[in-house]
Assembly symmetry: C2
Homo-oligomer: 327 residues x 2
């Protein structure tokens, strides 16, 4: 292959250049075609990091915990990638900037690469760009990737699927969170952290989580979720959390499990890329027909409906390999 700029970008990313990594991620978010070419060459060099998802409501102290985890992993010489999935809504909170600032103390450390993902505005959705960002970090040499999500909104919950180890962070006296556990997130957590455990109500929160977990039965060789208490602001309980993460990592890398995780990760990414490519077709397709206005007019005039129109357009597409009915 001729030496093209794509190769140069791929080379820089592989060297761990953070500027190059950032550039590639932005290109991927924009749906840039050359970026996909770069990914093709990077892909075989990825897939070996430990991906840890950290999720929980606002105000539970996720970011402070992550800051400490970065510090701990760096102490043991690991290269750390951090993906922060921004809440998409302007309603979601003001504490965010402060949290981010705290994390920035690692910004000068070449062994840490932090990236926030915007939740909207990009072609192909947050899930795809998050999965791709993690691959880029792996190509850059990350040993650990920490994925912070706010645990609210379809997309944000969706992204956690790429994590091998899922940590749910709960703060005491936020009854909602316990309700939440009961409602559905019990299936995805490998480690439950009661943060701010110096606050009143923390023992009760711990008990409640344990009680909910105890209602589940686990097959003999399944992972039994851990429940831990931390006070992130004082660094309490962090060693235990790191140990639990490592334990889970050892667990999932035993025998066939490691294979299964890799398989499922690729399966998921495959569907994301597929969806993205189809969305591009939609986008170009509806634009390309030149008939869109006529279709809409027809529906507005009560002569048709979206279902009939789309069925027609697709039938045509399947017959001719093009959305343009004139072709």
């Amino acid at each position: 292959m001729a030496k093209i700029p794509e190769n140069e970008l791929a080379r820089q990313v592989m060297k761990g250049d953070r500027g190059a990594g950032a550039r590639l991620i932005t290109l991927l978010e924009e749906g840039n075609e050359s970026a996909r070419e770069v990914m093709k060459s990077l892909y075989p060099h990825t897939g070996k990091s430990m991906i840890v998802g950290i999720t929980g409501g606002t105000g539970t102290g996720k970011s402070t915990l992550i800051d400490l985890l970065i510090h701990d992993f760096r102490q043991s010489g690991k290269r750390v990638g951090v993906v922060v999935v921004d809440p998409s809504s302007p309603f979601s909170g003001g504490a965010f900037l402060g949290d981010r600032l705290r994390m920035q103390r690692h910004a000068c450390d070449e062994g840490v690469f932090i990236r926030s993902m915007a939740s909207r505005g990009y072609l192909g959705g947050l899930a795809r760009t998050t999965a791709e960002t993690i691959r880029v970090m792996e190509a850059m040499g990350a040993d650990v990737v920490l994925l912070e999500t706010i645990g609210s909104g379809q997309d944000e919950v969706e992204v956690i699927r790429v994590a091998q180890t899922c940590i749910l962070v709960i703060a005491p006296n936020m009854g909602d969170d316990i309700q939440a556990l009961k409602a559905g997130l019990m299936e995805i957590g490998h480690i439950y952290v009661i943060n701010k455990s110096d606050l009143e109500g923390s023992i009760q929160a711990l008990r409640e989580v344990e009680a909910v977990l105890s209602m589940k039965t686990y097959p003999d060789k399944a992972w039994k979720p851990r429940v831990l208490s931390t006070v992130a602001t004082e660094g309490k309980g962090i060693r235990e959390l790191v140990s639990a993460i490592q334990e889970h990592n050892v667990f999932i890398n035993q025998g066939a499990r490691a294979d299964r995780f890799r398989f499922e990760r690729v399966e998921y990414e495959l569907s994301l890329v597929f969806k993205n490519e189809l969305e591009r077709l939609v986008h170009e397709g509806l634009k390309g027909t030149g008939k869109k206005k006529k279709y809409i007019r027809k529906i507005c005039d009560g002569q048709s409906d979206p279902y009939t129109i789309i069925a027609e357009v697709l039938k045509n597409f399947l017959k001719k390999g093009s959305f343009d009915p004139e072709k």
Copy 2:
């Protein structure tokens, strides 16, 4: 057309039967094909309601406001549909059930139809099912549709696009909300409501909203957003809110504006249906090839990557009109 059950369901919906409406919406959520047939026949009978979106953070009192709006519209003999977009995340809040209960006082009123939308788990996404639910309510005879969203998460923000009139609810002393306004939601609000205006800080909140709005310049004939104060729990300010809604409704139904809204609504729905149909293709496509496992294995073994595989699959698809490479 022969008399099929679809026709019977359509007939019942058109009669305003709430059981039939609920059934149809569930079928649509499940991606049921007959439900789409029903929609085809209902579609020409829809599009004439007033759609009012109410959005804001948790704890701002949206649901109480909506409860009063329902009451007010019912007093003037209007049939009211209410679509409540559930927060998808189990983290999102516990007040919700209580709010819903309050609204339930209208449950026995045949002129009110309330439907909560789950944010996940359904084929085709929340935006499509929300848009379809509103169409169903219109077919049932709704004069007004109130759409409550929590204003957080990509999907929840997205759904508000089908509303003609957007109300942003803010509570004082929730600094985040004001930040939020500055950050981005200023574009979508037609009416701003400072609810809980008996609380300290409400005048300041009002001033801040007005200040932010005053920074914008509006073209001569554009709608100038209204800012109102309410105390929903005491019913204060509700008449003014209803007047503002009606004023905006008159405004958008003047001349070409009414047409433009209808056009944009259909355009949006067209893209939702298109996307949904394509997603079904992905689903069936990736399953249908029978080669999925081989593809994944190839990627896991470092011999290929998702981009290359999907490009191949799509090339094949465009050539043959089928995802099955064996055909």
